[in-house]
Every structure is written in structure tokens, then in C-alpha cells.
Symmetry: C2
Subunit: 323 residues, 2 copies
């Protein structure tokens, strides 16, 4: 299949990237990061997470971050929440594009470990979740499967198992009159490779040709960006990523920090292969370097160090050739 | 085209990786690195570089390193040299598998900058080089093109230009009765992407179907490993890489350190997609972590931090599934 002409990138750095940082980041710095990212013209930025400050102290200032950033035209500002209480907090800010998602973890072991709930319990919980969407007037257009390719606690996850889970979520959505437009496949622990991407994406495309697919990829073992390419080569045009690879770290001390694929590396790849993103790469590279200052340690992004190829082409007085 | 059943990996860490390090590395540590790599069962390890100590002080102990390491059965131990003097030094050690290569840089600007010689001069010089091979009884079975995809000083390099250079080198080889078995394409400054890999590899395969292709890839902009995959998908089965991504560094201070693709990340990718390498990945991951100790700073390899997927599968009591 041909590459998409254009992809949509959801920038997750302010939320997923910050969450893993051990040292507290000043609220003003979090706001500054969101505002800088707005200048890069993302279609969507995930601003923060409404979770219990007891479990994730880094996110205790969620309301303050939301109050502080400036909305830019053309960008949706989303957030994460895990239960009705979090959903209510998000809605109460009156400033976010709160979206609903029906989600499940494909790994029984990780589901219990991460959410203290079995997969079966998650489906029961999903009914409550949908009630919350109805109560707060939140549109739910997405189903999502986490650990869709493999799990550190359970091993590989079969594509047919994932298709079965999506099928069940789609059925619940239909029962509640929800119109699902996006199917998210999340490689939460970095298990995917281009072959497993092709296998699962192919099955999902065959089964639900009317829905778009979003891929949420981690670069835990260096395969993140090639997985994005494999998906684009199958026509997938919707991706999550985090500026500078926020959430990851090249220090051994951050062993368990998986790290999303770095947004600027994805944008740069797209430019090189002729796929539009609408993102301002020059500005984004500056923001990536600032992100390292904000978290106070190196981040895994490559292009911010290796340099944007178009900048070298300009210095050499040439432009990209395809022969 | 189907993936190759097996690929050959040339481990460059002790040579290309060390060369860029600013702090002196103890000779004993260099020897230890070669010996540890020998335990990983590489078909080939590049041990050192016979260059002027005036220009590359890190390599002033080349003879001592060669004298110190232990040869393992089944591994070829190669080296780099830039002129007849270097070739003589390499041969004199009596311990290396000294190989001859006819090489040229595809970028006029980089050729002048890096070797103080035009491309035209390089071809003249190559005649002398071949005389050296004859004089020292060194087999030359390889032609090599550096900066074969692009150059920081000149921009993109066209595939037809590279094919023309190879053609000329092949002609010279023929004139001297040399039998060329391997064509090396080096992405010296990290300009390749999967599209340009397919373009150039395709043209070279069409033109010289009897020769194998070797790819020497840098991960300067995060595309190194996906370029290796794109080449494998065209049947290429010969790669250069450096343990832990030696030669690169995630510090901003190493801005210009391009970094080869990390050997263990390549081996891990191959295991995941069913391509054999013959390399002991468990041992290699230990060596990658030791390499960080030897150079005294973090290195870019991912799997040494993210963890080998088979180790998680074992913990979970499963093995890799393909469905």
C-alpha cells in the first residue's frame, strides 16, 4: 500500500513524558512546554493527566497546568483520566478537549499489575465509564488496546486475541450508540516489530475498514520508528509520540523508562520520505532541546543532536533529490 | 524479496567506536573489549586502525592492541589503514586478516575535507593502493563508496553517481585481475532513509548481481536500524555495526559523534524477525554495558537498557509466537 500523503501526530510529551520523571518539574515549566509545543502546530497535544496525586505526585498540579497554558487555534488539547473522578476534574477545567475512549489491556498479567483489575473486570468497568461519558456529555469515538503486541510479564500477545478484544469493545460501543472512528493499538512495553505491526494492522484493517488506526509506539528496543514506517506503509496515518523521546532516558538508572518514539525524529523521517505532518520541525527541534533542560537530563531524540538534513541541504545550497 | 536466512555482521566497535573518544582509553581496556567481543562469536571484528598518531592519538597503540588480544577460531580480525605505510604496519603484526579495498568518497566536498584529495585524485591514488596490495600479498575483494547517500557538506548523493563510481572501481579491479566479491555502501554521515536504500541497493543489485552488498550504516538521525531492515528486505546480508553504538553518545557535547548502528540492537531485531546472525546476544549485551564503562559515558544502544525480549519471554515461561 502507498504511504499516506499526510499523518496526524498526537504530541504526548507534557503528559506521558512528565509522568515518569522522578524529580518534580515546576508547574511553570510544564506550562512553558505546552506553549512551546503549540507553536509547532500540532493537531493535538496531550496536556496532563488527572490521576490521584497520591500515586502520581508529578501530576498533582494538573488543574494549574491547564489553567496556565494558552490555547492555540487548530490544536486540540487532550488529557488522560482513569476514572469518573478524573473525568470530572478534566471537564471542570472547561478548557480541554475531553475525549472518551473504551480501553482494555491485552495482557491479563499487566492488567492486574497496572490497574489491579482483570481483563474481565475491565469490561464491566467500561460500562461505568460509558455512563460517565453520557453524564458529562463527553464524546467517545475511540477504542484502545494497550500492550497489544507483547508484555514484559506475559510475553507475546497474539493478533487474534487483540482483534477479539476490539470486537468486544466495538460491540459495547454499538450497544450504547457510540460511533467509533479510531482504533488505537498501543505497544505499551515496546514489543512490536515490523512483522507483528503488519500482522495486527492487517487484521484490524480487514475487519474494520471504516475506522482509522492510531499507533502508540515505544522505542524500548530501538524498533519504534521502523514500526511507525511499517504502519505508514500499510496506510496508517495516526500516531502518538513525545517530543525528544520524553519519558525515556539514555541513563542506565532509567532502565525501566520505556520512552515514546521521539516526535521530531518521526517528523524528520516523514519529511525525508515525503509524508506531510504539518508540524514545524525547526521549532520542534528547539523545543526538544528545551525539554532536556526542563527535565534536567539527556533525552533519547536523535535528530536534535544529529541535525535536520534540510538544514545541511540549505548550507550546501541544495534541496532534496530523489534520484 | 524475502529476508535473508542469515546475515554476516562485522563488529567495528574497537576501531570506529574508539576513534571518536576524546579521552584516552587504556590499551589494556581496548584489548579487553576485543577479547570480550570474541566471546560473542562474530565472524569479523575490526580491531584497530593504523593511522598517524599525530592525527589520531587514540590509535597510537595499534600494534600493542594487536599484540595483546587473543584470536578466537572462526573470527576474522581486520583493521583499517589509509596508505601504504599503514598497510605495512598492519601486515607486519603478522596477526591480522589484512584485507584490501578499493574505496572512494562519493562527495567531492567531503573527499577534500576528509582526505584532502579530490575524487579524481582518489582514483589515481587507488593505482598506488593496488600496487601496495600486490607488494604485500594482500587480497583485495571489496570496493567501497563512502558518503554514498548524502553528505553534510554537499547534500544528497544521487544513486546514479554512486553506480558510476562503483563501475569505475570495478573496471580498475578488472584491469588488475582482482576478483571483487563485496560492494560496500557506506552511509558515513547518516543520510540514508529506507527509500534511498531501496533505490541504490536496487541499482547496484541490478548492475552487479554476482557481488554481495555490505551496508555500513550510521544512526545519526534515528534511521539506521530501519535502513538495515529495508536492505535485508532486499536480500542484503552483510552489515557493519558497533557494540552499544560505540562512536555515538547521547550527550549534546558529542554533537558530531555520528555513531554506527548498535550491534546488539541489530542482532535483537534479527532474532525478532527470524534472521540468524550466529552472535551470542546474551554475552553481547553484557559487553555493551562494559563498553559504557570502558569509555566512561552512556552509549546509544537501546536493548541493553530496554532488555532482550527473549529474557522476558523466559521469565514469563513462554517463547516467541508468530500469530
Amino acid at each position: 500500500m502507498a504511504l499516506p500523503k499526510r499523518i496526524v501526530i498526537h504530541e504526548l510529551g507534557p503528559r506521558e513524558g512528565m509522568q515518569i520523571e522522578k524529580n518534580p518539574i515546576a508547574t511553570s515549566e510544564k506550562i512553558r512546554l505546552v506553549d512551546m509545543l503549540s507553536e509547532c502546530r500540532f493537531p493535538e497535544i496531550e496536556v496532563t493527566s488527572f490521576v490521584s496525586p497520591k500515586w502520581v505526585p508529578q501530576m498533582a498540579d494538573a488543574e494549574e497546568v491547564v489553567a496556565g497554558f494558552k490555547r492555540a487555534a487548530g490544536t486540540r488539547y487532550t488529557c488522560v483520566y482513569l476514572n469518573t473522578q478524573g473525568l470530572q476534574r478534566a471537564v471542570m477545567t472547561g478548557k480541554l478537549d475531553v475525549e472518551g475512549s473504551l480501553s482494555v489491556t491485552a495482557s491479563e498479567a499487566f492488567s492486574r499489575k497496572n490497574t489491579n483489575r482483570s481483563i474481565a473486570d475491565t469490561f464491566i468497568e467500561t460500562e461505568k465509564r460509558i455512563e460517565g461519558f453520557e453524564r458529562f456529555g463527553v464524546k467517545a469515538q475511540e477504542v484502545s488496546v494497550m500492550a497489544a503486541f507483547g508484555c514484559n510479564y506475559q510475553g507475546d500477545i497474539g493478533a487474534d486475541h487483540v482483534v477479539g478484544l476490539i470486537d468486544r469493545l466495538m460491540g459495547m460501543a454499538q450497544d450504547h450508540g457510540l460511533s467509533i472512528e479510531l482504533i488505537q493499538l498501543a505497544d505499551t512495553m515496546g514489543w512490536a516489530n515490523p512483522q507483528s505491526i503488519r500482522r495486527l494492522v492487517g487484521k484490524v484493517q480487514d475487519r474494520w475498514p471504516a475506522q482509522r488506526i492510531n499507533l502508540h509506539l515505544h522505542d524500548t528496543r530501538g524498533m519504534g520508528l521502523m514500526n511507525a514506517l511499517a504502519a505508514m506503509e500499510m496506510g496508517v496515518d495516526d500516531f502518538d509520540s513525545a517530543v525528544a523521546g520524553l519519558g525515556g532516558c539514555p541513563y542506565a538508572g532509567f532502565k525501566d523508562a520505556p520512552g515514546n518514539i521521539a516526535t521530531e525524529d518521526l517528523v524528520h523521517l516523514c519529511q525525508e520520505i515525503g509524508v506531510e505532518t504539518g508540524v514545524d520541525l525547526e521549532r520542534l527541534l528547539e523545543v526538544a532541546r528545551e525539554a532536556e533542560t526542563i527535565v534536567g537530563h539527556p533525552l533519547p531524540g536523535k535528530v536534535m543532536r544529529g541535525g535536520h538534513l534540510d538544514s545541511y541541504r540549505r548550507q550546501a545550497g541544495t534541496s532534496q533529490v530523489q534520484a
